[in-house]
């Protein structure tokens, strides 16, 4: 059996493994290049899951980079931004949330939130709950607070249990002495629910939509999250709500006209856009940034696949001939099937192993090439070389295969 397998494939084995492995690498790297589209689709799916608001009818206000920067560094707050939104004709509600990266919180001595802190207004939580039904009957009315906790802490705190969250808001850090000035707030809460694993949170972020991504209207966390209902509405009474917000128009309001009016009035501070508009803008940005490269790779992968397909066609015909010779020489169809199966398993198995080993190396080469803006050129060279090789092999195989037939034809013609 082994001797026959060796006979069947030894002449072409290395060549076929090399071709399959190279082709697989081309396809893998094409898929990597195409990844921004994949990321966009993933982001969009997350947003649609997290934001239960009407995408065509809800507006998002994204402050300009300048206003966000002033608020973050100088604590400058412009109440007229929100007043303008709230007082605009046709606006039913402005959904606000407070976010800061400069806080960490503690629960029973355990640091639970460090790199995020978000508080959803009561109205926000009711219209677009961070967790379906969170806090509907827990009594808390001071907003909803997702708390990143360990799994054991989540087990200790079932829905309805009360706890006190300590919030350390870092006000400033002395660069010379390293002294941190912060304020400590104790926030009495009740657990309103546990966030589904892998669920994105609605997030009124402060990035500008021109940046292209959609992460600022939802945020994805892979941690265990409790949704806490804050008891005391007075406690956060003096919180300065962030500028970004979702604007819910009144029933029957002309959303397009409202978007235009708000854009004019808030134009100096930021941009207003529907959620659908944000999705479209993000997609357009993804395409304009990546499309030329993606098209290049997709075309090259298609060319490589075509070249390999031609080679495979002749290879299968050659293999058919080999197997036909085996059959007339007395090998059973069962043995032929198993030998063929084993040979193919070996070819594709070894190719997969080679790919696994070679992917990091090729990735390094691409990253290195990317530094010099040459990833596209490298991809083109790889796919082109593969195509050329497959083409030459196809031609060679075709010539050898047809030589006998040509000779027979000539003999019959008596030439």
């Amino acid at each position: 059996m082994l001797r026959l397998m060796k006979k069947l494939c030894s002449k072409y084995f290395l060549r076929e493994i090399f071709l399959v492995a190279t082709l697989a690498l081309t396809v893998i790297f094409t898929s990597i290049i195409v990844e921004p589209v994949d990321t966009y689709l993933g982001d969009r799916a997350q947003i649609r899951r997290a934001l239960t608001l009407d995408r065509g009818g809800t507006l998002h206000f994204a402050p300009s980079v300048l206003i966000s920067w002033s608020a973050a560094t100088e604590g400058e707050y412009l109440p007229e931004v929100h007043e303008t939104m709230k007082n605009q004709d046709g606006v039913e509600a402005v959904l606000e949330m407070f976010t800061t990266g400069g806080a960490f919180s503690e629960l029973n001595g355990e640091t639970v939130n460090f790199d995020m802190f978000a508080l959803y207004s009561e109205d926000f939580a009711n219209r677009c709950p961070p967790w379906p039904g969170a806090g509907s009957d827990t009594g808390g009315s001071g907003g909803r607070l997702p708390v990143k906790v360990s799994e054991t802490a989540a087990e200790r705190l079932p829905v309805g249990s009360e706890f006190e969250l300590k919030l350390y808001n870092i006000l400033s850090v002395d660069e010379e002495t390293g002294t941190v000035e912060d304020e400590t707030l104790s926030v009495p809460c009740v657990v309103a629910g546990v966030l589904e694993d892998g669920r994105a949170l609605p997030w009124a972020g402060s990035s500008h939509k021109a940046l292209g991504g959609m992460g600022y209207v939802s945020r994805y966390f892979q941690d265990t999250m409790l949704v806490a209902a804050v008891y005391d509405p007075e406690f956060f009474g003096d919180i300065r709500w962030d500028y970004p917000a979702f604007i819910v128009p009144k029933n029957g309001a002309d959303v397009e006209a409202l978007e235009k009016a708000l854009s004019e009035r808030l134009g100096g501070w930021g941009e207003v856009c529907t959620l659908d508009g944000i999705e479209r803008g993000a997609f357009e940005n993804t395409l304009s940034e990546n499309l030329p490269e993606q098209l290049k790779f997709i075309l090259l992968a298609l060319v490589a696949l075509f070249g390999y397909g031609a080679y495979l066609f002749l290879s299968i015909r050659r293999r058919e001939r080999q197997l036909a010779v085996f059959y007339i020489s007395g090998m059973t169809k069962g043995r032929i099937f198993y030998i063929n199966l084993l040979v193919n398993v070996l070819i594709y198995g070894l190719s997969a192993i080679i790919d696994r080993a070679a992917t990091p190396l090729v990735a390094k080469a691409f990253v290195y090439a990317e530094d010099y803006r040459g990833a596209g050129a490298l991809g083109a060279i790889c796919a082109g070389a593969l195509f050329l090789m497959a083409l030459l092999m196809s031609l060679a195989a075709g010539i050898v295969q047809n030589r006998n037939a040509a000779a027979i034809t000539l003999y019959h013609r008596g030439d």
Partner: protein, 224 residues
């Protein structure tokens, strides 16, 4: 050795493209016979040869090879007979072009489970018997048409086959090589080998002791 009674073969039976390749073929072949079957293209000669070789089964009738009902025999048994008792020579040689003549001739022995060294010795001996021992190490693609056909004959006989089936064996050869191949066939037949060859070359057919013709699937004794 061979007994065919009322053998018919129909392709695409019951469909619009139904084709009757063989009609009620009766044929008796005895040990040591040298038979030629002639007929135009599409007359059913190759179909008959495929059935005789156990590569295909008849649609109706009975085919006995050394008492074995080939229509009912398992694939495994028919393969064993083809491997050890029936040798096949094809018009386009049916060889592995990238392999040497020796490797090609060894193939049935390897399939039959004969050990490498013994297989090599036997293959070499048969190559010498058919007159191309000196080309044993050459790749088939590097050999002439006549030499290739001799390699095919050597491969067919390497297992001491009792029956040699040749499908247009001289179709790819010039007249000199065709004549030399028929000389070889006559010599092998004189040694006791049963040979059935299908051809549309009358010069080749005349070298056989018995000659049949086949037209539209109907076989008729012409000579012998």
């Amino acid at each position: 050795m061979i007994s065919l009674k009322g053998v018919s073969k129909v392709y695409n039976m019951g469909k619009g493209t139904e084709t009757r390749a063989l009609r009620d073929v009766d044929l008796q072949v005895f040990d040591g016979d040298f038979i030629s079957i002639t007929g135009p293209s599409g007359s059913g000669k190759s179909t008959l040869l495929h059935i005789l070789a156990g590569l295909d089964r008849q649609t109706a009738g009975e085919y006995l090879f050394d008492g074995v009902d080939m229509a009912r025999a398992s694939d495994s048994l028919r393969c064993r007979l083809r491997n050890q008792r029936i040798g096949i020579v094809l018009q386009d040689f049916g060889l592995l072009g990238d392999d040497t003549a020796l490797e090609n001739v060894m193939l049935p022995l390897v399939i039959g489970g004969v050990r490498g060294r013994e297989a090599r010795a036997r293959a070499k001996s048969v190559l010498e018997e058919v007159g191309i021992g000196e080309f044993a190490g050459k790749k088939v693609n590097e050999l002439s048409g006549g030499q290739r056909q001799r390699v095919a004959v050597a491969r067919a006989l390497v297992h001491d086959a009792k029956l040699l089936l040749a499908d247009e064996p001289t179709g790819a050869l010039d007249s000199g090589n065709a004549s030399a191949l028929m000389d070889l066939f006559e010599r092998l037949n004189a040694g006791g080998l049963t040979i059935i060859t299908v051809t549309h070359n009358m010069a080749v057919a005349e070298r056989a002791a018995t000659s049949y013709s086949i037209v539209d699937g109907v076989i008729r004794l012409e000579r012998g």
